[in-house]
Amino acid sequence: MSQNKRYWSGLDELHGTEEFKAIQGQEFPGVQSVDEFLSDDRLESTHTGRRDFLKFMGFSLTAATLAACETPVIKSIPYTNKPEEVTPGVANYYASTFYNGQDYGQVLVKTREGRPIFIKSNALTGEGKVGVRVNASVMGLYDSARLNGPRKGGQPTDWATIDADVQAALAAGGRKVVLTHSVASPSLNRAISLFCAATGAEHVQYDAISYSGMRKANVADYGRDMVPTFALDRAEAIVTIGADFLGTWGDVAVQTTAWSKGRQPENGKMSSLHAFESVMTLTGSNADRRNMIKPSEAGRVALALLNGLTGGGNNGDLSESAAAGIAPAVAALKAAGSKGLVVAGSNDPNVQLIVNACNRALGAYGTTVDLENAWVLGRGNDEAFAALVADMAAGKVGTLLIHGVNPAYTSTAFATALGKVKASISTSLFADETASRCTHIAPDHHWLESWGDAQRTTKRVDWVQPTISPLFDSRAAGSSFLTWANNPETDWYTFLRQTWNPNYTADQLYTDAAWNSSLHDGFMALESEGLPVSFEGAGSGLAAAKQAVMATKGGAFELAFYQKNTIGQGDQTANPMLQETPDPLTKITWDNYVTMAKSDMDAMGLNTYIGQEKPASVVRVTVGGQSVEMPAMLLPGQKPGTIGIALGYGRGANGEEVGKAAFQMAENGDFLRDANSALVPVGTNAFPLLGSASGLPQYEQLNVAVEATGATYALASTQIHSTDMGRDSIVKETTFGAYFAERKAAKGSASWNKLIRIGVHEDVNGDGVINAQDSKPTAAFDLWHEHPVEEVGHRWGMTIDLTTCTGCSACVTACHIENNVPVVGKDEVRRHRDMHWMRIDRFFASDYSLERGEEEGVGAIGSYRRMEDPAENPQTVHMPMMCQHCNHAPCETVCPVAATTHSNEGLNQMTYNRCIGTRYCANNCPYKVRRFNWFNYPGYKKFMNFNPSQDNLTRMVLNPDVTVRSRGVMEKCSMCVQRIQEGKLNAKKAGTKVPDGAVVTACAEACPTNAIQFGDLNDKQSHVAAVSENNRAYHALEEIGVQPNIFYMTKVRNTESTEA
């Protein structure tokens, strides 16, 4: 049966609406077929324009490209927001102040992309330029041995725990002591005194190197417990008795610069310097007359000077070499009168009393000695320290806070007693000898990370400002003290500002214009009238002092302790740059040793020649009970019967983590380990051997025993030959008398700087005969029509004044840090493979010569043999030597691939990428200044523990403007071409010609005495152009005719005779 039931698919169908009817026939309703689309004539009106098409193409192309490529840089984090003061590629400089308990200097810190990479002097202060130890200190910031946070019992902990423990300890009772070095920071002093007031603690200051002797003498004479400052620039005659004021004694930076001001022969007068010392120091090597004395004679030398000045008196017995020097010194002092100066390095008050008497006799007070404007450092109190150690040993000390000193290294008594202290907290950055023995370590910021203020004299305050945010979880020491004192204000920066502006509030953070400008300058002048000095009591103790010094007697051998110019008192022993910078006198790197006189060494049959395969002989030095075994090193000028040992070595003797470079390496680059597999430190710690008199440490031991052990020990020297073999065209020197006589002579004509002429076979002088008188200057000889250098664009050049170069080596470290010069370590240095672009050649005078050989009937062979040995007490020349940038460079012509060529700005340029490493250029260099990359220093295992470029943290010190050279290429001084380019670009932007002084090489910048000058020789207004025309200017090895762009200035000694 049919059914009429209807199934409908939707209400539309049911109701049969119009829309349904319209779409009913279509299978896919609402979809337009392609044909319909194309047949739609409205299509004509719509179109995609060519431009659109290209836009789409462009977009898709770019999109595809971007999708295809990776980011090329692997490890670099871009600024999300660029700090306004940082422009990538452009360096920023911040004024700051360095102080580590020994050295003090106002510096400018160069930062690149927020990394401090270079330290130079702050020229604005006009007070001295920092030396080798300060400009190398930037390495310390990136030392991977630094503590990454607070420690408790050697284990990492948090600051809360530290603070809680300190509070508990303070509450626990017992003696509470804050032990610091002489604090230079007024704010820190304020913080400490607040802390002491709050907790009843006492503040003891202690310095590794003590000046107590001098201060006691000043107390006795003038009632002032202080060390005066010395105006060396005003002095006309200086006599030093073992005070190395150019190297390590007193305020070196200021003294060096000031001294050099008085040593300019062009001024028509020069100060004279007489030195009496046992070990030849930097100061002694720069003295016009150096006299060898025994340490025990220091007082009697001072006495003899006093008698000489005041007329008559008993000098006591003086050794011949000492006595011989008295008369000339006295004469010089008398001539100088109130512009004379006597200083002594001795820490014996008696000696200093006599020295004070000398200066009074001269009337030096107020002219060369400034009591009113005292040096506020060197305030260590040795008695207080001794008492503290005694109490510690007795267990009376409850809490000991240690800041800025490392007494466990300098005093064995302290090291042992430290264990008996209930709570000992150190703010050291390293777990060093002291900190590692403390119960807690609350690491301070590195000075480059911290705010602070510092005072050298009462006349001004210098600012310390951070140049990088703290690398590790450290806390400013001052802030720690404030926290522990429960001071309401614990923010160090605020506290610092409040010190100088009591009503400072946080909203003045940026608004204080005065502060901002002084911070920019790096210092703020203070008006302080120097404290009055009374001379009433002066000389009261003199008679007793005379008796005392008369009485001092020495034994068979006397031992004088000294500091190396590079390592100083030893808080930078782990700085590879400093370790590899050779000692200016012995040229030994990476070690300390016993310095001895040749006569003594021969008597003991010790090896006096250190060569690659000629190790030093080891001697046993016995002082009182204890004895050390150290290599013996010949040091000319060492008083026979005395030996010298440098302090500051042997850090980390018990494996403390003071830095990798403080330890010796095996030849394969691993740490060297002794019999019981302990790390072997570099050098030996001599502090335990120090003498002491009436509670003061004495830097001499008057009776020691020295014996040969028969053992040998390899020393690494960068210069194994001592003398200049009478080659006058390398070093030219004269006396001030001779200079003065011919000071007006035209360049090249003066007897002490004659232009070297070569005989020719033509009648030059027109006397009708051709004979030895017919000669031409070397410049006249030229095989070919040369490339013009004069008057063509720039011609970068340098002048180096041998008269004011003290050999301090500041230029060496500056150069090497600026140019990423690899540190190669002791073993490679021993193989004569140091990479030094900049070196200081040290020549000791020999008392032999070919002439003398002829007189004595000794042949040339014999004479040359004798000329290899320096005199017993030789005169010394320090000669900075780097690439001479010859205009006729022998190195350039021999390179098969033209990797070293001459720039049209007078530079001898080395193209590392092009070098194939034949070493022909180095062989053919008369100055031997080219250095070859024997290994892959940035990667080879042998260098992993000390080469900065192999440590992930230390690598941050590398200068991004200078490439790190690869294995197998030659390198050498580039005259800081990166700085030249920067200077030229700045001039270009400014639209000016490069102004004189706008471009300065690292060495010239660092030179504390401005002996090195850099500039454009073609710019006739430039300083170097003028100096190069000076009649003292000459080219080293002029007769080879390589025509260098480096000029040396004849060394002028203020002596009448060149004989020592």
């Binding site: 060569g611 073999m725 050649d841 022998p890 008369p926 031997k928 990359n933 090895l1037």
Partner: protein, 459 residues
């Protein structure tokens, strides 16, 4: 046909026919390897492998594995280079110069002398290569265009002249040698019975068939090559000597060097030829071809060149004093009285005194004495180069840089290694190559053969 004065000693002893000559030379190649040869090549191969190992270590680690330093930038590397190049001079000299002078006695020795030359030059060429700090870019010494990744080279540099001189010398000597070898390879090819050797020598023989036309061309080419190889021999060591002569270093900067080096080279080259031939003639029973007369001729060359070298040494000394230049005079005083004077006196004894013994006919004709002296001379010549290089630069202008040199195990190892490689190659040559110039010897059989000479005398 040309005859030779009867009083002249025959160059080929015994009653030899053309066939005998062939058999004497080709026989050993066909026969099994003698035990002595096996022992010798094993030893030298082991040494060679050690040398290659040392070189690889050097290349992997850096030049620092040598004993060089900032003052002494060259030492054993360049000493060995010059020594080997010097040795490499005898071969071409013998075959070229003596050919021009029509010295028939050369024919017995030139083949092996040239082989020695080629192997010595290969050894020499390794040192300039491995002494480079970055050997992987050594191709930069070629004048390649910028786009290739390098700039043009510096044609002012003696080292670049070396590149051209050594490569030219090597390739020309090789060609000269091979062109002489072709007919003899043909001879071997036609003697060989085993298929594989026959095939190999067939390829080496370039299908030579000894047509009259080819022989004329052959003689022309030999003559002309000799003509241009002769100045080449002299130029090569002159240019090597310019590495030193054009520098500014006292002791290097010496105009006497080119002739002095060339005579030294010939001196050491002949000495090395003596050493090798005296072994070879025993080992391969060639007494009839290489006999006392040849040895004597070479010893005479050694006396002459040795004396020239001696005069050169004395001239240097005199000039250093006569010049009045303190650096120059000190350089030489230091040579004979300084820290390295021992090497100077070894040189003097070996190079100047020892060859004078050859004035005595007995010694000159004694094979034992010759063998010993030839080795002494080569020791002396090695030290000559060592003295020139090391004693000059270890103390040059600036006393602050005066230094020392102490060889490392790698210095020694690589030098010994090259000796090993050299002897391995030479032994290989002696085994598989015609060690005498067959075709040349056959031409002189009638004029200088003992038997023929007798016949002539009878007529």
């Amino acid at each position: 046909m040309q005859r030779e004065a009867a009083i002249r000693e025959p160059l080929i002893l015994g009653n030899k026919s053309y066939k005998d000559i062939t058999d004497d030379v080709v026989g050993p190649i066909q026969g099994p390897a003698p035990i002595g040869w096996k022992i010798m090549i094993t030893i030298s191969a082991i040494i060679a492998v050690y040398g290659v190992g040392s070189i690889l270590y050097l290349l992997g680690t850096g030049i620092g594995v040598w004993g060089l330093n900032k003052t002494v930038g060259w030492s054993w590397d360049i000493t060995n280079f010059v020594w080997w190049v010097g040795i490499g001079h005898a071969g071409t000299l013998i075959s070229a110069v003596l050919l021009l002078f029509r010295q028939k006695w050369r024919m017995a020795i030139n083949r092996s002398a040239e082989a020695m030359t080629i192997f010595a030059v290969i050894m020499a060429a390794t040192f300039p290569g491995i002494h480079m700090g970055r050997i992987w870019v050594s191709y930069w010494v070629l004048p390649l265009p910028n786009q290739f990744g390098s700039l043009w080279v510096n044609f002012n540099s003696p080292l670049l002249w070396d590149v051209f001189a050594i490569s030219t010398y090597f390739s020309v000597s090789l060609v000269f040698w091979y062109i002489g070898l072709i007919p003899d390879f043909a001879t071997i090819r036609d003697r060989m019975v085993k298929p594989l050797p026959k095939k190999i020598y067939g390829i080496l023989a370039f299908g030579w068939s000894g047509r009259a036309k080819h022989w004329t061309r052959f003689e022309e080419v030999s003559l002309v090559l000799a003509g241009i190889a002769t100045p080449l021999v002299f130029s090569v060591h002159s240019i090597v000597s310019m590495d030193f002569a054009t520098s500014v270093i006292p002791g290097w900067h010496t105009t006497i060097f080119p002739p002095y080096f060339v005579s030294g080279a010939v001196f050491s080259g002949f000495a090395m030829v003596q050493t090798l031939l005296l072994i070879m003639r025993k080992g391969m029973k060639l007494e009839n071809y290489i006999h006392v007369k040849h040895v004597e001729y070479m010893n005479i060359v050694i006396i002459v060149t040795g004396s020239i070298v001696g005069v050169a040494y004395l001239t240097e000394l005199f000039i250093s004093w006569y010049s009045g230049v303190e650096y120059e005079s000190y350089a030489f005083i230091n040579r004979f009285s300084g820290p390295y004077s021992w090497s100077y006196w070894i040189m003097m004894t070996c190079n100047v005194i020892s060859p004078q013994l050859f004035w005595f006919k007995k010694i000159r004709r004694s094979l034992i004495a010759t063998f010993i002296l030839s080795i002494v001379v080569n020791i002396g010549m090695w030290f000559e180069r060592y003295v020139i290089i090391v004693t000059s630069i270890h103390r040059d202008y600036n006393p602050s840089s005066w230094g020392e040199f102490h060889p490392s195990s790698m210095d020694v190892g690589i030098f010994i290694g090259t000796l090993g490689i050299f002897f391995t190659l030479f032994l290989g040559f002696a085994r598989f190559f015609p060690v005498l110039a067959l075709n040349e010897l056959k031409t002189i059989l009638k004029s200088s053969g003992e038997a023929y000479k007798k016949q002539h005398d009878n007529h």
